[in-house]
Amino acid sequence: MPWKPPKRAGATVLIWAGYSLAERDRRWKAVREKAVRAGFDCVFVPLGNGIDGRYLTQLRCSSMVLPCDDQKPIIIADRSSHNDWVPDPWQTSREWAEPMTEALLEAGMERARIGVAGLKGGKYTHVRLPAGVVNHTAFAEVMRRLPHATFEDATDVVGAVRYVKSDEEISYLGRAAEIAEAGIDEVIKQARPQLDAAVLYAAVMERMLELRSEYTPLALSIDPIGTAEPRRYTNPPIGRRLEKGALLTDEVNAIWGAQIAQESQPVLLGSIPDSWKPVIEAQRELFEAALGLMKPGASFGALVDFVGGFGRKRGMAGSSLLHGCGYGDDGPLLAPHSEGQPVRDLCMEQGNAFVWRPVVTSGDGRISFSWGASVIVTERGGERLSKRSHGMVSIV
């Protein structure tokens, strides 16, 4: 091996790496098959694409060359890390360009067509990052050292595999959804007028951490009901106490098995105004009705159109708010401002997992309500991973 490992390395960071070897083989095989269909000689996960790296190696920080033939993949890791999936990766310290180059050369890719995961944003993954996630200086050096190879975006090659969850992944997502629900229970238990908002934030995070969720931020807003654009906090609010009449909206995320689930539960510190009740009821109906559409083969365009039409029939406005569940930045992304134009023709598949929280707005535009949960696409339609009742929680 031409790459020499470093003499010194930082402390090994132990992370959860509990997927089976069968799961590893499934993922690698599926990526290889899609890469072959796309005409690539290998898939390259470079420095910067940490999420795809973790998906394919279970390592905290890695780079990977996955040849499309029967060659073994070459994986680069740091801090002496390794696991059951990758018992003997190439080790590096802080230098990545050199071992990545050597790995591609070792795999015989001097003149190959190399598919680079994360070079751009994709349909299924890295959906919020149109410029992708690849580190410039390291990647530019790799390209300089392999002048006869071609490098093309392969984000959707890996993304399409991440898009469909195995039973193993779905079971972990289910546990993540349970933890997120426990976080919501803590919101409901703690939230009272005059409570320091940072204390609420801390208590909810503590509850999910003690259930062993990896860290992912809680998003919270605490402004009075009816506030047009409530401030969104992803860290503890400073200088704020909860007030009577505050509407707490949240995105409670939890991670288990590296999978991020999300649950969303509005909580009102007061009685629910009558004017809100029909909007809440319409959102419940919309949420449930759309689950019926979430079957393999259904297009996202059809879902968006259904949601829009549903609102209009009731003299309200309905809009889709949906994104994938998974290792992070999963798609497709349907947001009220974009309505998913780039993915209208994309179809759902059995084993997709989404955060589904449609928004219903009253005809005069003054009341907006969203409630949401993590769902799985099955033959029977969308099935929730959590068990909470729909609606707004009122704390009087």
Binding site: G48, R94, N135, A202, L209, G239, R240
Partner: protein, 404 residues
Amino acid sequence: MESAAEMSWRGYSLAERDWRWQRVREHGAQAGLDCVFVPLCIDGKNLHLSLEQARGTRSDCRFLTQMENAAVIFPTDGRPPIVISDEEKGNGWVTEVRPLDGSWGKAMAEALIEARMERGCIGVSGLRRGKMTHGRAIAGVVNHASYAEVLQRLPNATFEDATDVMGFARAIKTEEQIACLRRGAQIAAAGIEKMAEVARPGVEEGILYARVMRRMLELGSEYYPMALYTGPMGSGRLPRFEDPAIDRRLQPMYRITNEVDAVWGGLIAQELQPILLGPIPNEWKPVIELQRDLYEAGLERMKPGTPFSEFMDFINGFGEKRGMKSLMLMHGRGYGDDGPLFTPQDRGERNREVRIERGNVFIWKPIAMSADEEIQFSWGGCVLVAEKGGEPLVRRTPGMVSIV
């Protein structure tokens, strides 16, 4: 300590903004640059070499704009910066934000052209690791696809690395920044107090982790993962956890070491406190004592103008006089991945000529070792460089906490 709800701090002043901008302008002009360019950088979840490095990926934009993700074009001739962001609104510092319109590369290139940089000498921060910032990221932190588009659209401009232009500007802390770091250090110390209160044999390590994080969050720290190392005394290098550990319980004679970080005003403070669930073995006592003396001696020598070469040689040679060993472990404190970096992994040879300056803030946690290196001990916290030497931002007592 005041609760988060009682805190009146709402962000840095406009005077602080102007000080930072002026400093970057001056450093850029001295380097012969027409502008300093902070391009789109990779997010910390995807570029995650370490906690510090991950937090530091977008630290230059936070330093200049108080925004989480932005690209900044900063002409050195006094014109105001152009800020591009995917955030819809600006803030008290940056009222006008240029939208993306779908492409970071296009938006950044057009802004550079508007700033008349078609043939300019453009200093790019974050392209490579620097002495004072991005020290853990040898290949820098810049996003490839968008930066490549900028290069392609400005073929007659010169692009050069300006990580140290920004880095040296960030290295000196103002009174406002020091106040934030002090509050952060106090919160981290409160986290350590909670750890000492909860850590007992039989306690699940995940519960310990959750309790400490809660304490710091309720005091208003941003979430910054605590690094926790646990294992039997004398078992050598301990595993490191940055999330709650699963299926692990503390046991009698377990050693707990940690990096307890708290973030206030975007700045990361750190305090470190080893804990032993049992009596301290006699063979550890001289090493712990050496470390305390090393820590204090280092504070005395941490004076403005001192080159790190002199400081490092003193620290690394300190243990030898007692028949033991010592090693420098310190780095800057700030928005993330602050330098200069001196660790067992990065011995800091490339930083020897850097001088300590008044207003630097470091995490100072030197390592003392027995002669055979079997016993290694580090304790430390944030220190501010003042005229007379290093001053801890929060007063704690060096040593190991023994819980019997």
